[in-house]
Symmetry: C2
Subunit: 203 residues, 2 copies
Amino acid sequence: MLPENPSEEIMSLAPWRSPLGKALHLNRSLANVKYLQLATVRSNGHPANRTVVWRGFREDTNELKLITDFRSQKIADIYENPWGEACWYFSRTREQFRLHGKLLLITEETADEALQTLRVQTWKDLSLGARAQFSWAEPGLPRDFHKPFRMELPTPEEILPDFCLLLFDPIAVDHLQLRGDPQFRTKYDRSPGGKWNTIAVNP
Amino acid sequence: MLPENPSEEIMSLAPWRSPLGKALHLNRSLANVKYLQLATVRSNGHPANRTVVWRGFREDTNELKLITDFRSQKIADIYENPWGEACWYFSRTREQFRLHGKLLLITEETADEALQTLRVQTWKDLSLGARAQFSWAEPGLPRDFHKPFRMELPTPEEILPDFCLLLFDPIAVDHLQLRGDPQFRTKYDRSPGGKWNTIAVNP
């Protein structure tokens, strides 16, 4: 049976998804095409910034899936201040997306069933190497080179307790295209009602 | 005449300068090797993040030279909260430097003569294209496609009032090398006395 409104699913996509999808496609030959820099605010009011890997969009939403380790510094920061800004630069097409939005942390303790299912699925989708990182010694602590890191690799079924899913829900996107004369810049803003507004601005 | 202590200049280089210099060299074939993402905090407590271009180090210091437009949003943010964290990812060697430190803005109004001289020199060192940006219409305002952007390019001698130099002085650096088994991570921290401490930590 056909859905009553076949365009419904397409309608839910924010207008910045199309240029972002195009950038991902045109830059797909780059090894780091899925790497973006996520800024958050520390408890002392200073900014923090690190490279994270985009793990796709949460189905039927505009939320980016990211992952993190419960033992990392950013966990406490995000609980206190859940706002983030991601900067995603595509070097082949020379364009930048700045995504501003709210972060939602899904840990082993998260009660919501749908979110917990998504956490488990994201774990299963990880590469061997990505899963292995969650079995390593506590990040940021002094390294003991005499102690080898755990050797057996965690399986897709054995979800490690420190594995967290991080959902990032943008409310504003700033797209800058350095190619162009003199450049193009587009701003997308989500109104409290959920509607996206698009405007061309000066670069 | 020889300086009394010939090693003095070398001594002033922070220990993270050597691995950063090496990364810059090994990744020099990348068009975006000098692009890094600078996070700051907005007046509403949310993070901001954008790509900036590294313009070299200020002579005899560990301060990174960046530039910005006085009309950009980050000016007000930096006056209120001068802390920044830069994330610099080198895709060829797969390593990341996170630099945490203080930002100092040098505008047309800055009275300090040495800093003003540095601002003028940085302007002169810019490419034609980089200088031209400071003659464009106000960044972030709705674009008027009927109004052409200023056509004459500013000369090295005609320093435009909105041109600002931004000095970034790191007090902590976190260097992560994704290549390695299982990866290498080194933290550098500057003590209040100015001495740098280096420690290998878990990735």
